[in-house]
Symmetry: C2
Subunit: 501 residues, 2 copies
Amino acid sequence: MQTKLQELRNRLIEVDNLNSATAVLGWDQSTYMPPGGVAARARQMATLQQLAHEKFIDPAVGRLLDDLLPYEEGLPYDSDDASLIRLTRRQYERAVRVPAAFVAEWTGHSAASYQVWADARPRNDFKAVEPYLVKTVDYCHKYADYFPGYEHVADPLIDLADYGMKASTLKTLFAELRRQLVPIVQAITGQPPADDSCLRQRFPEAGQWSFGLEVIKRLGYDMNRGRQDKTHHPFTTKFSIGDVRITTRVNENHLGEALFATIHEAGHAFYELGVNMAFEGTPLASGTSAGVHESQSRLWENRIGRSRGFWEFFYPRLQAAFPDQLGSVALETFYRAINKVERSLIRVEADEVTYNLHVMIRFGLELDLLEGNLAVHDLPEAWRAGYQADLGVTPPDDRDGVMQDVHWYGGGVGGAFQGYTLGNILGAQFYGAALKAHPGIPEQIRQGEFATLHGWLKDNIYHPGSKFTTDELLERVTGEPLRIEPYIRYLRDKYGELYTL
Amino acid sequence: MQTKLQELRNRLIEVDNLNSATAVLGWDQSTYMPPGGVAARARQMATLQQLAHEKFIDPAVGRLLDDLLPYEEGLPYDSDDASLIRLTRRQYERAVRVPAAFVAEWTGHSAASYQVWADARPRNDFKAVEPYLVKTVDYCHKYADYFPGYEHVADPLIDLADYGMKASTLKTLFAELRRQLVPIVQAITGQPPADDSCLRQRFPEAGQWSFGLEVIKRLGYDMNRGRQDKTHHPFTTKFSIGDVRITTRVNENHLGEALFATIHEAGHAFYELGVNMAFEGTPLASGTSAGVHESQSRLWENRIGRSRGFWEFFYPRLQAAFPDQLGSVALETFYRAINKVERSLIRVEADEVTYNLHVMIRFGLELDLLEGNLAVHDLPEAWRAGYQADLGVTPPDDRDGVMQDVHWYGGGVGGAFQGYTLGNILGAQFYGAALKAHPGIPEQIRQGEFATLHGWLKDNIYHPGSKFTTDELLERVTGEPLRIEPYIRYLRDKYGELYTL
C-alpha cells in the first residue's frame, strides 16, 4: 500500500509542478511581463495546464485511487493519508469529466483575456474586452455541461471554488443577509458622513510600500517565504508552501487602498504559508475553499486591520512615516476615516457594511449571464442599473464599473465572487472561536502582538490545508454550521458605536 | 507534406512552451524568488525539462522527420522549411540519446546548485558549493557518455553550446591567440597604468540604472519586448521573440560594471529579438551558437560601447547624470579609464586585451576537471595558480576567485566559456563585414545613431536565427572561415593608440 501511495504522490507532485509553473507564469504576466510577451504566454500557460490536466486524469491515477480505497477505509477520516486519498479522488472524479484540450483552450483564452483587460481598463474600453467575455461565458457554459444534472448552470463553477455550495443555497443566504444589511446601510448613510479627508492626501508610493510591508511583517508575513510586487489588481499566488507571494497596487492619492489590500493579501498568504509542510506537492497543500480563504484575508484586513486596537499600536508608526500628512490627525479621526461607510463604486475599497452589496450585484449578474438572461453586450448597463438600485451610485465609466475587477476577465464567470461574502460570514465565526480560546487576543493586538491569534489560526485553519471541507472545518473549529448572526452582530456592535443604529 | 510539417510544428511549439516556461522559472529564481522557494523550484524546473525532453524525443517526431526528408531534399538548403527540418533533425538525433529522467535530474540539480552558489558566494564559502560541483562534473561525464566515440570528453558538452566545435580545435586556436596576446599584454602592463579613478567614485544605483537603460534604448532595445532586472550574475533570457529580458547587478562604487554588463546583455537580447518572427516556437528561433551570441554581446559592449566615438555622443549625457562625479573629468580621461588594461581578477570586468586569458584559464580547468586530472576539491588552488601564472594576480578569496562566475554552479562544466573568446574573434570578423557594407557606421555612432549597424546585424546575423551553423553564417556574411587576425588587428590598432606597443 505504501508503494501505491508513493506512486500516487509522485504523480501528484508532477501535477503540482505543472500547476505551480503555471502560477509562476501567471504571476509574471501580472507583474513584470512586457507587452510583447502576451501571445506566447497564453500558449505557454495553455500547454502547462493541458499537461497538468492530462497527468491528473491519467487512468493510472484512477486505478491507484481504487487500489487505495481499502487502505483509506481502514484509516481515521482525518488522518493525513485518508484525507489525501479522499480529496484526490474527489478532484479526480471532477477533473476526469473535462477534456485536457478544453482546459488548454480555456487557460490560453484566460491569459489572453487578462492581458486585454489590463490594457483596456485604463482606456475605459469595454468594447475591447467584450468579445473575450463572450467567449469566457461560453467556456463556462461548456464547463458546466461536463456536469449534466446540475441544479443550476453556475453550480459546477461555484463548486470549483466553494465545494458543496450551490446557487440556490447562496441565493437564500444572500437574501437573508441583504434583508439584515440594507436597514443598517440605510441607517448609516442617512447620517452625516465620516470625514476621511486625512486619507485623501498625497502619500508617496515608497512610503506606502514600506509601511505596508512593516505592518504585514509584524502580523507574521515571512519575507523569506514570500514577497510583494505591483500589479493591476491585488492577488496572492502560491508556488510552494515556501513561496507564497502577494501583489498590490498603490494610489498615491489615497492611503487606504494599498495598505488594506496588502493586509488582505497577507491574510491569504498566511493561510497558504501555514499549511502542514508534509502536504507539499499534494492537493492537500492549499486552502480548502474560496470562502475559507476570504475568511482569512478579510479577517486580517477588517476585523483586525480596521480595529481601533490595531491602530492604537500602528498609528504612531504611520504618523512617523507620514508626519506632514498625519502628524496632526488624531487617532480617532483616522479610525473613523478608515471605517467610513458610504455607498461607493469600488468593491475592494468598500467599507465592511456595504461590501456585501457589491458582491451580491456581481453574483446576480453572473447568474444572469449564465442563465442567458443577460447578454455580455448589455452587461455594462446592467452593472450601472445594479449599482444605482442597490448602492444609489452610478459609475461614471466602465473602468470603475464593470471592468473594475479582474475576475471575469481572468477567465471565469460564475463562482468568482461568492467567496468574499462567505468569507465575511465565516471569518466572524472563526474569530469568535479564537476569542473564546484566547480572550486576551484584543489586548495583545493593542500591543502589536499577533502571535497568539496567528498561532491559533495556523493550528485550527491553516495547518489542515484542504483536509476538511468548509463545512467540516467550520464544525470542527466552531461546533456550528454556517450562520450569519455572528457577522451581523459584529457589524452592529462596531458600527453601532461609530454611528447611531 | 504541409500536414506533416504542421504536425511537426505543433509538437515543437509544445516543447518550446515547456522550455520557455522553464526559462521563466529560472529567471524568477535568479531575480525575485524568496529563499523559501528553492526546493520546490528545483523540482518544478526538473519536471518541465523532463517533459520537454520526452515530448521532443517522442518517436513520432522521428517518424515525421523521416517522412519530411524527401520534402526537405527538394527545397533549397537555406529555405525556412528545409532549415527547420534539418535543425530539428540534428537536435533530435542528439536529444534522443539522452534519457528524459537524466535531463530532469540534471535540471533539478542545476537549480539547486545555482541557489547554493548564490547564497554561498557572498560568504566566500566554497565548501558549500563543492559537493554540488562534484555532482555537476559527474552529470557532465554521464552526459558525454551518451555520445560514445567522442574525441574528447568535453566535446559533447562544447557541441551543445557551439555546434561542430571540438576541444582539440579550441586548444589550437587558443594557443595561437595566447601566443599573440601575451606580448601585447606584457607590453601594455610594463607601462604606467591608466588612471581609472573617475570610475571608482560613488555612483548611486538609481542613476546608474536609468543611464544604462537610456543607453540601450538608444542602441535599439525595445522595452515593450524586454526589461531589465537585478540579479547575482548578469544574463539574458528569452521567453518568446516578443519577450527577451536582461538582468544586471550594480556596484555603487564602480561605474563600469553595471553599465557594460547592461550593454553586453542588450547585445544578446538584440540577437534574440531580431530573429525572424516566423520562426517563433521552433528550434530556429534562437541564436545559433554561444560563439555567435557572444560576438553580438561583446561587439556592442566593447567594439561599440568602449569606443571613443560612442562616448563622444554619450559622455555629455553621462556627465549630466553624474555632474558631481564626472563634471570635471575630460572625455579622454574617461575613455582611457574604461579601456584601462590591467591584470585583474574578474572576468566580466576585464579589459578586452586580458579578457581572453580569463577565458582560457577557465577552459583549461574545465578540461582538467573532465579529464579527471583535477579534483573539485583542488579547484580553488588550481584557480589561484592559473591566475598567478597567466595574469600575475592571486585572488584574495574564492568569492572573487573560483566562485565569481555562475556557469559551473548553474549546472554545466565544459563548454561554458569558449563562446566568449569565439565571440571576440567572430565579432571582429562580422564588424569588418558591416563596415565594408556601410563605411559610415563609425560616424553615425559618433552622432548617437545606431540604426544602420543594428539593421545590418539584424538582416545578416539575427534574422536567420539558427538557420545556419556558426561556420555557415560566417562564410555567408564574411566569405571567410574563422580567423583571429581581424580581432588581433583591432586590438593592436586600438591599444596601440592608447599605449606604446
